[in-house]
Amino acid sequence: MTTALPPVALLTAVAWSHVIRTGLIGAAVAVYACLVGIVPTFHERPMIQGIISLGQTALVLILLGTGYLAARRHAAGLTALTAGAVAGLIAGAGVTVLVIVGQLIDLRAVFSPASPALYDVVTFELGVAGAWIPAAFGIGLGMAAGGLSLLAPAVRRSIVNGLLAVLLLGLFAGLLRTPMLGSPLGGLARLLFASNGLTIAGAVISFVLVTAVSHVPRRVDIAQPIADLPVPQRRLLTLPFLIGGLILLLVIPQSLGPFFAQVIALVTIYVLMGFGLNITLGLAGLLDLGFVAFFAVGAYTVGLMTSTAEYGLLQWPFWAAVPFAVILAALFGGFLGLPILSIRGDYLAIATLGFGEIIRLLAGSDLLKVVLGGPRGIVNIPKPISVPPNHFLAGPDQIYYIALVCAALVGFVAWRLRASRLGRAWVAIREDEDVAEALGINLVNTKLLAYMLGAAFAGLGGAVFAGLVGSIFPSSIDLFVSINVAAIIIIGGMGSLPGVVVGAIFLIGIPELFREFSDYRFLFYGFALIAMMRFRPEGLIPSTIVARELHGDAEPEEPAPGPAPSAAAS
């Protein structure tokens, strides 16, 4: 019945204000993306060969999002389409205005990316004559998003999955294509991927395939029966997956090339340090922003003990130096920790932040130049395992494997400690220091142990890093190392070990893979952190609740009378 009314009358005054506000926000985001250079920089990389670039994709996503947010509130067909179209129009018109204004006034004095190249990107090479194009696209995409919001949730989810698949495949096309070309999948790779980005056929195939697959209703839920199995059988069932995952971890660098090996070696080092800080921050709740200090102690110890160049003292092999690096870092942690551990909360963060900076300045200072080499650092740190140049362990693969083993070791220690008396004391301190103390937990000892163990693992990370890079400079001891590791834990989920892995891939791996866009790395960080705090403050993979009363190691208790205990526990 509503379709008989003209569209304008369908939207009440309140709804209009929402649509316009959403449109204006969309316009601001789109113009911002253009002016800071995201759109022109990302334009360098094709998304679908010959059709759309990554930069244009960014704009398309902004317009689609604007339309969707504006249309979401409306259930009626025409209203939703109108709302989406109007909001999209406003957002697109923002870019149109930018093109026209840019033609009249040279904006480059303030915004250097606002060059004719930018205007060509958004108008498909038409320049000011095509200024109407963004606005037109806005209407179309906004209406499409409005249509999307009208679909049944299951259908919408399938389509969104299809679009996401195209987006992800397009983003990682170069990465996936190289290894596939050398394998029996070469034909498939040539069909799906262009030299960079997807082919048209590839985009269509992946969209249709993923949409179809995710729309097939799942008649059987596999997770539930597995969870219901008794513990030994469940373990048996997960074993193949574990082995498969392990093999995958081992062959990844071999199959994806040296650049990728370097990236995942770095990711693994961050995972290792993340496991360490997870003890200090995730379990004991001590916000340590000077983590890089211990990383530096580890790296410099290895450098001094092994380097064959000027400042090397002992020319020891790498492995002989690692235990010293770890122990020294732990002692350093204790030394720095003792005076500051009675400081609580945010104040501790400030104090540790200071320590990190002191270490960085000391390493680069003239005072210690005779020992640490000043700004020129220590070079010629030997590879941990010396092999002939063509050996498969010659490149960064070697460090990846070493880091993997170290990370596994540290992860194991962290996991065992979490379920121990000490781990519980840490959690108690994180939750409520006063109460923990009143239960007989010695605050100083317990906190100091958390700090020292975290420092030891950071030292190990530094040692492996020195082995990876082969040198150590004061500039490597960056505050951002500390911030990266802390952000990994916050994004991944406080106290969660899988969260650390996911967080490291997300915050270290992905930015490394998109090196050409490194200018926007911290924009991405900020966006990710704000989005996480807003939408998922517990982290990507929050630490799980381990059921210990009813599913503990002991035999299950007799069923309790009355309501089922599992219902109470869920």
Binding site: A438, L439, A560
Partner: protein
């Protein structure tokens, strides 16, 4: 033999004297209540005993040892456990984990052994888990162990806090308003539970309480504080009829009206307690 002795304990906050020259003796195995109007210094006294506050004057003796210079964890190690007026559980971990944390002082595994997972550690952990389950059942929390402590209903949170305190195997349990915010049925259950703690576990219990039915029902002796000073001490009967207590709680006016009424009714019945 007295378990806890306070001798002229004074605690000041700047110019405010929160507890003034308090003398207090707690016999082992008894249930004693501390009552008094808001701001009388009851919780401050608890915090002094538990080591949260350093007292300014006097001595505190627990089981023959002077404790006023000890840290809270050292005092906990001696066998004093407490609950809090506003429940302070570890809300982001499960109920059973709260109880396990409470057992901290009885577990001995060094952390290296925990990492290696030695036989001794595993045996200790299994025993600790069994003990924790037993305590949950004792506190009436069977089947709630795997719920996040913060998600438990209010009454269960109070019980869990006591279970956590019991996990430290204390000799003296300090309960700060254990029935605050409970309905009459819950209050009745809690009163029975507190009696059970003493009768079955042989604990000495010192409690702060506002609910007079609880106080009069289970306390053997009552100490009344007002403005940081002890104004009365005695059995529930003595306290109920003590004019200074009635004055502190209900004001002088009430007392005078009461006296008038009693005088007109029949002679002098007001039996003064020892003040």
């Amino acid at each position: 033999m007295p378990l806890l002795v306070a001798d002229k304990v004074t605690k000041r906050f700047g110019g405010l004297v929160a507890v003034r020259e308090l003398d207090f003796v707690l016999e082992e195995g008894s249930i004693v209540s501390v009552i008094g109007p808001n701001g009388a210094g009851k919780t401050t006294f608890f915090n002094c005993v538990a080591g949260f506050y350093q007292i300014d004057d006097g001595t505190l003796t627990f089981d023959g040892k002077t404790i006023q210079h000890m840290r809270p964890d050292q005092i906990a190690q001696l066998g004093i456990a407490r609950t809090y007026q506003n429940i302070r559980l570890f809300t982001n971990v499960t109920a059973i984990e709260n109880v396990l944390i409470g057992q901290h002082r009885h577990l001995r595994s060094p952390w290296i052994a925990s990492v290696l997972g030695t036989r001794g550690v595993r045996a200790e952990e299994t025993a600790a888990l069994d003990e924790a389950r037993r305590l949950l059942v004792f506190a009436g929390l069977r089947g709630r162990g795997d719920v996040l402590a913060g998600k438990l209903p209010y009454g269960d949170q109070r019980r869990l806090e006591i279970a956590r305190a019991l996990a430290t195997r204390p000799r003296l349990l300090l309960l700060d308003e254990p029935t605050a915010g409970m309905n009459p049925a819950e209050t009745g259950g809690m009163t029975k539970f507190i009696s059970k703690l003493r009768d079955e576990l042989g604990l000495t219990i010192l409690l702060i309480e506002h609910e007079m039915r609880v106080v009069m029902g289970i306390s053997e002796r009552i100490t009344v504080l007002d403005y940081g000073e002890k104004i009365a001490e005695g059995t529930p009967r003595q306290i109920q009829t003590n004019p200074r207590v009635i004055e502190a709680y209900l004001g002088r006016g009430y007392l005078e009206r009461q006296e008038q009424r009693q005088r007109t009714a029949a002679g002098d019945t007001a039996a003064a307690g020892e003040t």
